[in-house]
Symmetry: C2
Subunit: 227 residues, 2 copies
């Protein structure tokens, strides 16, 4: 369970203030399937970053699994993240010096007890996202959509409980997008909590709940027709 209470995220630029998140009260429960949609600059990535403990609120409370994240130091937050969360970044954040397979396996390095079948999992996931013939390529030897798919596979290699995806299909053709969304559907059926940001209304309807953002606030929450 992830709970936002009165959360604000404010950036000070000189004498100006940017309210990236403005009075957010929200609960995400275990096993739910959310999409987040809204105009460019409305706070979707900021919302996802706070949800994923990559950023802290300037005001208000963010509780994850009953713990007040404001009371955890950066190391504890980082530990919480690597165990429980898989994050797909809007700008991928791949390591330029590593090939596809090693990039996918990076989260395994953070674990104190990495699973023995880590490489096998990575190869399997690379296959699931269609990159089996690109395992030895570096990021700069990949197309935009291929880089996006490395980021997706990497987020899943630790078998996280919660998957946070920021525009995970933004650079994918409709066929490949559909395959990625089918993969999210499967993971959801396995009991995982999924929250993905998208700018495409069609894609947002694949979730069970849609959160519409505007100017750093929650404008609307609705349930989709999906059973």
């Amino acid at each position: 369970v992830a709970e936002f209470r009165g959360v604000e995220r404010v950036y000070r630029m000189g004498n100006q203030e940017v309210r990236a998140l403005d009075h957010i009260d929200l609960v995400f429960r275990k096993g739910e399937y959310w999409s987040i949609i809204g105009p460019s600059g409305s706070g979707k990535s900021t919302m996802l970053n706070v949800l994923g403990c990559l950023d802290r609120p300037s005001k208000g409370l963010y509780e994850l699994g009953g713990e007040d994240t404001g009371l955890l130091d950066d190391d504890a937050l980082s530990e919480l993240r690597s165990r429980r969360l898989g994050f797909i970044f809007q700008s991928y954040n791949l390591i330029p010096q590593l090939n596809v397979l090693d990039n996918i396996m990076v989260p395994l390095l953070y674990q104190s007890n990495p699973p023995k079948d880590g490489e096998e999992r990575a190869r399997h996931l690379a296959g699931r996202v269609g990159l089996q013939d690109r395992l030895d390529h570096r990021p700069r030897e990949l197309s935009g959509g291929q880089m996006q798919r490395v980021a997706i596979a990497r987020a899943l290699v630790n078998d996280p409980d919660m998957i946070l995806a920021d525009e995970a299909t933004g650079n994918l053709d409709s066929q490949t997008s559909r395959e990625i969304l089918n993969l999210f559907d499967e993971l959801h059926k396995e009991g995982k909590t999924i929250v993905f940001v998208t700018h495409e209304a069609i894609v947002s309807e694949r979730a069970e709940r849609v959160l519409v953002m505007g100017d750093g606030r929650v404008c609307e929450i609705r349930e989709t027709a999906k059973e």
Copy 2:
């Protein structure tokens, strides 16, 4: 006029070969309005890079404005590019140390005779893409879609004859996308040649001609219903 004759772009990876472009015969004429669509990894960015003189064919001939680009050295190619082309990259390529306004003005630095009203043009374009309140932000202080819009404004500041856009609306909500495509429509009416890559079929229909790629080849060329 940009003409591809028997163009190939092959990457050698160890003993394997990746055919990013495979036997391309194609003509883009002045003032035309094209979209390029196709699966992830099918060669769209490679096609655009060769078209924009950012990459050279491994085989075959690419002629731009009657000149065989194979006979031009890198400096001459770079000169040709900065005068005539505006390029919007799939990964934006903004300069981290510069703010939005300066990033938009970068192409003016490459000109031997920069127009006096360069800064005014940059401010106007920032307004056209909705970034008038972000002029002083650095790229890392922007949302994904805001960074994309800086890349769009920058490609237009030199008033180029030909605009090449690689997924220019990939991170934009539908409203902002529509505004960018309206801007492309206007530029086309002014006589500019526009070629944009998109993974969204709806967006591809905004052009007059659609080029469908697959596995490095031209699968189909069709005209849209748009008059």
